[in-house]
Symmetry: D3
Subunit: 142 residues, 6 copies
């Protein structure tokens, strides 16, 4: 009987984490206000340096207040982009995660639907513009 999706490496459990991994886990819980470290980070923890690099970049872009940065986009727009990209790439984990994040930010299902409507519209026009090799009508800057 076919099983569902299982990570290809064994995640690092929270109570077994030490050193750099334990520090990043604590920062993820604190910054995101979560009780539990999501599976994504627990799998990345099998390569501690990489865990730290990815978390550092995501924290700076998605939790700018935590690093004292003034963002150019509001949280809902950022999560809308995340969901649009994840739908385009067909990433199951990411679609689940960013839909949950959008709902947590107060989006209703119809707003989630509009994000996907716009994303799917442009997946469609992208294939047309590339499929016809349409010549740009925009002039270069300067």
């Amino acid at each position: 009987m076919p099983a569902g999706r299982v990570a290809t490496v064994a995640p690092v459990p929270e109570d077994g984490a030490t050193g750099k991994v334990a520090e990043v886990y604590a920062d993820i819980r604190r910054t995101k206000g979560l009780d539990r470290v999501p599976n994504f980070w627990r799998v990345l923890a099998t390569h501690p340096d990489h865990l730290e690099l990815v978390w550092g970049r995501l924290k700076a872009l998605m939790h700018p207040e935590a690093v004292g940065r003034t963002p150019k986009l509001d949280p809902l727009t950022r999560e809308a982009i995340a969901l649009a990209v994840s739908a385009t790439n067909g990433c199951a984990y990411c679609v689940n995660s960013h839909t949950a994040a959008l709902l947590k930010l107060g989006a209703d299902p119809e707003t989630v639907g509009e994000v996907l409507a716009v994303a799917s519209l442009f997946n469609s026009t992208n294939a047309l513009a590339d499929g016809y090799q349409v010549e740009p009508d925009i002039l270069p800057p300067g």
Copy 2:
């Protein structure tokens, strides 16, 4: 010497358009407030029914006020999603077009940069979540 990108079909010129194509061209100019119909639509016009279908969907989603629909997302968020999807798919025409649209809506280059920063971050995490086959930690609805 290598030439640049040229459409694979001959676009329908504005002064040669008749019937359904002429009507859609007029609606595009009116709805978007443009003097000239962009290349994308002039290439689609080689298949008039398809031109009408794509324009109808884009108009409803990207110009909701023109069809009396109350949108769930503001114009800048919609264009941000459009640019994020186009960058993910690597569509040159679309990247040019949606960057221009974002700038026209008042976004500065740093805001364009933040849209691309968030989009590129999630292209990265999508590859990781899929590359490790991370098991979702989100429960299904209901």
Copy 3:
């Protein structure tokens, strides 16, 4: 134990549908000759305007006789394209759905295999042409 794929929003059940959703559901059952509305449409129904837009475009392209349009491609070629695109994008729902549609049109498993053989061949050559940045040898139109 890991569960399978579950939609991120609760689908709109057929017996609970009203207004625009009920109309589109009826049109889907009638046009496709189905007893039951597929999951895809029941999930889209959480955003009724979008349901109508997507169904309208799919109906016009995939059921042209229902809108009085003379198609340029036969039904098997249209479903072959649908499967080829879905395999390229790795969309599980769509692969299942379009394979079923091909078999329903009378294709045998070897024909399904040939569609995938051709699609996979060109996914391969696409990566080569892009990976070497091969210069086009085709002259522009006109």
Copy 4:
């Protein structure tokens, strides 16, 4: 001033080809009825074994009569799939090449447009089915 696309390796010219490369070049010209070997193959020729592998597979699938194989799909359907995949991947060389092949087989621009219309429709629905993680409604075989 920006230049166009140029291959990243120097193509093997036809008059300089020897051994396996000369044999494959001759087979390409003969099988495809061309005077000149397209750029794609001349770039692949920098790795002669790979040239032979790719040409062998493409010949068997796209020129089945040349290898005595009875195909399951007609030439126009095969090229339609090739264009649909190339548009989905945004491969410029391939879009140019397969559009030219479709026109050479007798397709008119509106037929090319319908191939792209169907391909772009399913790029759109793929993003929706993946973006909502729609559960398959198709039963497994057997």
Copy 5:
């Protein structure tokens, strides 16, 4: 209750294989040193000519010693590329298969992580270079 992933066609069992399929199955077991033919090949076997074409190409590139070819890349690098491409495309079967192959070649989980770290980094920069349409700074050959 949602089921997992099941092939859309019925695989050809090993004890039911005859002719070309039986020959390829035997070659796969011998070349790869396996007791059992993986599901991928058993599904491809529903189209015997295609099975032979794909296996021939994979054997030549991934088992060059079996065809007397001197490879330019070592086995671990080849599997690293395979995993990187599969993660980029989000192919679940392929990610499982190539991760297992890497581990069998002696890679530890941290090495698998570094392959994915590099692959995900460049999925990110690809979106940026395309998203900004950065002009190449590399001169053409010759």
Copy 6:
């Protein structure tokens, strides 16, 4: 006449760079041993915080010796993965850049060809495994 690819934002010139941008530019030249900062980084510099984040991650993964990290993969394997991912995504800038990097590391054109041969093979098998929805034959870890 169609022009080639031009960045959608004006790059920050090296002699106009100050503060964080000037520091990153200097680090790029020093770490990579270059006289000139590549266009990619000069475009990213329009969003200085993002420039720093992307450079920090790329430096740690692709120039590990510069940060005192012991890598799990050698430089040629890392660049092979970069080229394979860029070919898969069809990113022109990235293909040019990583091919140049491979050649600088001593790879000959046939080795570049073998990287692309392996990458294109797995783009092909990915489409097949997804196109048939092949069930994994690999057991989960533990």
